[in-house]
């Protein structure tokens, strides 16, 4: 071995360890900042009862006797969940009677089906128990806000982003050593474009005074791995990948901005649902069959998967504000919408995506209704539908038959799985280096078996980090629900991460023969334009639920919107803020 070869060998080895250390550092820093640090809820108003003053922490609150109420009024005559108190974008408060037996009055006026406006110092009568509603002036709110923790104090997002930039640099170095020289300029441009995009986003956030950047960092981390997969498997298409990532990021920013207004967001739900169904209908009629599923529309030479856009629409439509949740007919229309989506996907033979929708449906319907019975009923229905599907489409039955026995048929039914497992194991913990694998050249290697491609080239540790990144986003969505302004954002964030987790599970475990092979994409990392766009848009939902102080660009600071002069506050009430 010549000296220069030896040098490259050492560089390659060093870069492997560096990539692992940087991966771990990035993920751990994000976990610390998103899941470990303490954050406090917002305070929007107070409810005064005979027992004292209770803060109103959300835009949507349940008043009632139950411990699960947001403002608990533990008095005789009050129902367990009695009323919903909401605030809209413009700062207008309303109270809704949610079928409380004893009724709700505001200043003596009975609240009807469509709710009633509540103003500062109004008296709300809950079945004979009177409480006083008390607003907070913008100045006071600003003071309260200042007491909340800002993300990024303990864990600087810039440092994490710097680590990610180094990660990209080392990955590029591996490609420089191992990939074909002719592709190198395009590959270098790909990683450079990512670095530019992430720092531009970061700077834009700084300019508008936002300090939460963990969600974006994780998304860029996953996109970096996706860029590496693109570079190793389809280096001729690097420009397309760059363009798609850029479009994804732009759609993410637009989506986040769109979610700032709850009014705008929720009024557009019905049109979005209609558009989604129309898209699926067009798809069912005009689509082409690629890899077993008729899920591709080809427009002007570009193929795209409508179901990926419908995923975003599904989350958008599925989430709902709190006052909606208590009307059964709302849930029924959502069930009908879900059934149509899943049916349309089953009709075109994309059972993997249908399953992703179904799991998402379970989580959304449970979050909306809280009913385990609904979940059990849905699962039994799905099992029956699944059995029907197996009889109707024999090739799905075949996939199930080979499940757990892939090594018995390595040239046909187990072809992809055994190669994925073999390549993944060949990578060991540290991988062979970006560009050095062979699995990428197997059919669907860079999509359905992408976990194994990453295992082979980057090693098991980074492949696990990749899964951990998605898990972290999910845990963060769950944690954010506690501080959510509106149920809409909390449900949407949880639904979005559910989709990603389900895709992860089906993709990773399908290719490793732990689950039947269904052929869905790994969020951000699998090659596939439509999938990449939808993943970035999903991130907007997580940003929309990130209600930490000055964290997310998708959350509007709540004060200084109303034009009405703030009411004078009595002196006595300044004292007890706690």
């Amino acid at each position: 071995m010549s000296a220069s070869q030896l040098f490259l060998e050492y560089m390659l080895r060093a870069s492997k360890y560096a990539l692992i250390l940087l991966s771990l550092a990035i993920i751990i820093r994000c976990i610390r900042s998103m899941l470990r640090e303490q954050y406090e809820p917002e305070t929007w108003a107070y409810i005064r009862t005979g027992d004292g003053r209770f803060p109103v922490n959300h835009w949507e609150n349940i008043l009632g006797r139950a411990a699960s109420s947001d403002v608990r009024i533990d008095r005789k005559g009050v129902s367990r969940t009695h009323a919903v108190l909401t605030r809209n974008d413009r700062g207008i408060w309303q109270v809704y009677d949610i079928f409380a037996r004893s009724g709700v009055w505001v200043n003596g006026v009975r609240v009807g089906e469509h709710g009633l406006r509540v103003n500062d110092r109004d008296v709300i009568n809950l079945g004979g128990v009177c409480v006083r509603f008390q607003e907070i002036s913008p100045e006071k709110r600003e003071k309260l806000e200042e007491k909340r923790s800002v993300p990024g104090r303990g864990v600087s997002p810039a440092v994490t982003l710097l680590e990610l930039t180094l990660f990209q640099l080392f990955l590029l170095m591996q490609h420089a050593i191992l990939s074909k020289q002719e592709h190198l300029p395009a590959i270098a441009l790909g990683f450079a474009a990512l670095a530019i995009m992430q720092w531009s986003c970061y700077n834009a956030m700084r300019v508008i005074g936002r300090s939460g950047f963990e969600v974006e960092t994780l998304a860029f981390y996953l996109s970096t791995l996706g860029m590496s997969v693109a570079a190793t498997s389809t280096p001729d298409d690097m420009y397309k990948q760059i363009l798609l990532t850029l479009t994804g990021v732009i759609l993410f920013l637009i989506g986040g901005w769109w979610l700032r207004s709850l009014h705008r967001t929720s009024t557009m739900r019905v049109p979005v649902a209609a558009a989604a169904l129309a898209l699926l209908a067009v798809n069912a009629v005009f689509s082409d069959v690629i890899l077993g599923a008729r899920n591709w529309l080809i427009i002007g030479g570009y193929s795209f998967q409508p179901s990926e856009l419908v995923k975003v629409a599904y989350v958008y439509v599925g989430a709902a504000t709190l006052e909606h949740l208590f009307r059964e007919r709302n849930l029924y229309s959502f069930v009908a919408f879900s059934a149509m989506c899943v049916l349309a996907l089953a009709l075109i033979g994309d059972f993997g995506t249908a399953l992703v929708f179904f799991v998402c449906f379970l989580v959304i319907s449970f979050m909306r209704s809280g009913s385990i019975a609904t979940v059990i009923l849905s699962i039994s229905g799905a099992v029956i539908a699944g059995l029907l599907a197996v009889t109707a489409r024999p090739y799905i039955g075949k996939r199930f038959a080979i499940w757990g026995h892939v090594w018995e048929d390595i040239y046909d039914k187990g072809y992809q799985q055994v190669r994925a497992m073999s390549a993944a194991a060949a990578g060991g913990l540290f991988g062979k280096g970006a560009g050095a694998g062979w699995l990428k050249d197997i059919v669907a290697g860079n999509t359905d078996m992408v976990f194994a491609v990453i295992c082979e080239e980057q090693g098991l540790i980074i492949a696990l980090c990749m899964c951990l990144a998605v898990l972290t986003l999910a845990f963060f969505a769950v944690r954010s629900a506690r501080f959510g302004r509106s149920a809409y954002y909390s449900i949407a964030a949880c639904a979005a991460t559910t989709m990603m987790l389900t895709q992860l599970a089906l993709n990773v475990f399908g290719s490793l023969d732990i689950l039947p092979f269904t052929g869905v994409t790994f969020p951000f990392v699998s090659r596939g334009g439509s999938s990449l766009l939808s993943c970035w848009m999903m991130m907007a939902f997580i940003k929309g639920a990130d209600n930490r102080r000055e964290a997310s660009f998708a959350v509007r600071p709540g004060e200084r919107i109303r034009n009405a002069p703030p009411p004078e506050e009595p002196e006595e009430e300044e004292a007890d803020d706690a």
């Binding site: 699960s68 060949a426 913990l429 769950v478 959510g484 599970a505 490793l512």
Partner: protein, 433 residues
Amino acid sequence: MKKITRRAFSVLLLAALVIVGLTTYVLRYIDHGADWALSFNRLNSGSSGELLDRNGVVLASFSADENLYASDALTRTSNYHVTGDYWGRTSTGILSTYWNKMQGFSLLTGTTRSTAATTRLYIDAGLNNTAYAALNGQKGCVLVTNYRTGELVCMVSAPAIDPADQNAVPGEGAFINRALSSVFVPGSIFKLVTAAAAIETVPNIEERRFYCEGKGNIAGVEINCSGEHYTQTFEQALANSCNVAFSKIATLVGQDNMVKYVRTFGFLDSHRLGDIPTAAGSYPLDFVGDPELGWSGIGQSTDLVNPYAMLRFVSAVGNGGVLVEPTMIQGGKPPVKSRFMEAQTADRLKQMMAYNVSYAYDGDFRFTGLKLCAKTGTAELGGDLTSHAWFVGFLDDEEHPYAFVVLVENGGGGLTVASPIAYRVLKHCMQIE
């Protein structure tokens, strides 16, 4: 919102399932990663390799297209328990135990090699041929190691099988390496162990005289001897392989000390030849009383010895009490050396074994040209079974420092059956570079 927060935990259920799935994968990877990796990466990376003996004789070679063995049938057969086969019928062969490393796989780094890999052994395939031929169809095993360097030059277990012959009918236990995986009644070779223990624990052992009139008794139980030896010294007693004397010596050593030495010499442990584990022997550990202790001191009772463990013992005696652990594969870590017994003990034992050869075995005539120190064993098995024939020892020869164990299962007398095999093998050893 509190309700929604609580219901959001349903997402965590999904996350938990993902974590369970990933854990499953990691565990399966640890278990099967090597099999997975090697099944396709050889095809995809074109890796190939070969297994050579110390003289460059090809014992096995593999590439993406085919798996081959040595070119001639005798070499394939006599080396079968060294190489094993590609489908792992014998678990102790190199092709089973060392396959991952030959291919270049480890759990940490995955597949590490894409070019041809050569694995070279210390084994002399020709010497194995000689040993296998000398066994002449009898069940048994032969082991030879260089006691100065630890190079294992000969390991044969019979019957073996020609791995390239698809129609070969395996003989009894053809897939068991008797040298590593089996234990046998030791008989008189165990007197070496009793002697070593006596040298270190019985103060006036050299001054004592032992009287034998063809049989003796310990606490009223009769012990038979092979002959009438009358008055003997310690050294003469070993040369006579006198059961009366050595059962007495075992009682002088005492059971606690016997157990201590049997344990120290590693007869009760499973050892490792590289990555290959060996079988552990046995010795009466619970209190048995003098008569049984006497029998155990002459290698009967419940004594069972693994041939490889015996090789370690004679090898250490030959090397002045320091054991150099035998190794089969070249290019590994430097040999492990350890103090096995006191140097004086080893020297005294060596003298006694040399005396054995010249006085009892008529060495100059029988083992012409060898500076041999050895001990025979004819292990009685009871019933109608023919005894195991043992011959163990070493060459007291700086040029050819080899220790050996020869066992013929149900072969008969140690001197008549096992020692001629040892002689042929050792004569061949004299030619090893």
